[in-house]
Amino acid sequence: MHRVVITGAGTVNALGHDVADTLEAMREGRCGIGALDFQDVDRLSIKIGGQVRGFEAEGRYNRQQMSLYDRFTQFTLAAAKEAIAQSGLTFTGERAAKSGVVLGTAGGGVSTWDANYRSVYEEGKNRVHPFVVPKLMNNAAASHVSMEYNLKGPSFTVSTACASSNHAMAQAFQMVRSGMAPAMVTGGSESMLCFGGVKAWEGLRVMSKDACRPFSANRNGMVQGEGAGVFVFEEFEHARARGADILCEVVGFAMSSDAADIVMPSKNGAARAMEGALADARINADQVGYINAHGTGTAANDKTECAAVADVFGPHADKLMISSTKSMHGHLIGGTGAVELLACIMALRDGIIAPTIGYEEPDPECALDVVPNEAREAKIDVALSNAFAFGGMNAVIATRRI
């Protein structure tokens, strides 16, 4: 068993187009959620989201690339560029042959589906661009990262709704820990903020029309975001030998399946995933200082998650901090765990705990320290990142300061 560390991080999301801007926004408790801006938004009843602003594909990517890169791939490539540049790794020879890329996404090229359905159904066209399929496929982003950086080892895409990124990073972690790969590029992305993407979510009636207020008694639903988070997971000795800057260690993970309901969360499933991650990392519950919550801001998730934390941590649940950064960047669905891992890195490395903003009223069913509204300084050693998906598929990652 090898130790696994993170040596590079990159992101694009509603809070910033890189890690530095994103972490600054989290420190300041800034909200990236605002009015949605795209075609036919006036026909939606949900008109807010954590949309990425000012990210122009033109200028970043050439015409040929643009015809192949859906927005979720564009976000991924920008985040991967930042992460791999920070790691300082280049992929040649045996390292290239063994290193790969595992990414999460729930929907893949949703806006490509949307635009082309509009073209053939609404506009009555009978011809679509020849690259529609390679542009919208769920593994497009992972494939383009592999091509751009010469990653020739195990590469694929994981899709488990809101837990996709955590499941993807768990796979990458296992590959590095087992010695199968010296390094893996991993994380996830999502871009569902288009008419069809939001319209589908409206149907469930779980979206908020005004704000994402996790754990607050007056919370009224989730708010969607978009973007990507990408990391370089590297074997510890490999990183140390080349003098790499280590952001934190990934020490364990666990997955569980509720096997119960297609949308309602389960306390037991969530608790088993957290307990499993602690056991895998050989960490006692009382060593955990911070949990980045799944914290969607729905009535059901937040109370279930808090009850699960209380079960797993016992009296220590009242001492640890738990926050939901979805209040700031929205719910990135398949990309959310990746962006949220940044809050764990900030907690471990900088000693700053990202807040849960929009918190207005205590809820007795969420009676934990949710770091309301303002970031907090605290030295912590271990942080967990929770992701609990529709379909009852849960994945929790444990990280440690190094």
Partner: protein, 86 residues
Amino acid sequence: MSVQDKVIEIVAEQAVLEPGDVHLDSTLEDLGIDSLGLVESIFAIEEEFDISVPFNANEPTKSDFDISTVRSIIAGIETLIADQKA
């Protein structure tokens, strides 16, 4: 068909019951309709009457749309039809 009969038909279909087994005093719980079944019923009602029902599953009791019994649901729909068709 009256609004009442149509709503009972929709609710009965969701509950996998005969319309005669759905009473005005029945609650959704009595009928075995869970949160997903409720959201589906509201969708069917919106489609049937071409109205928009203000219902957020996160705060079912805060909505003006009272779902406590079949009777209250019918009354709510009649109000919405009157308001939205006016």
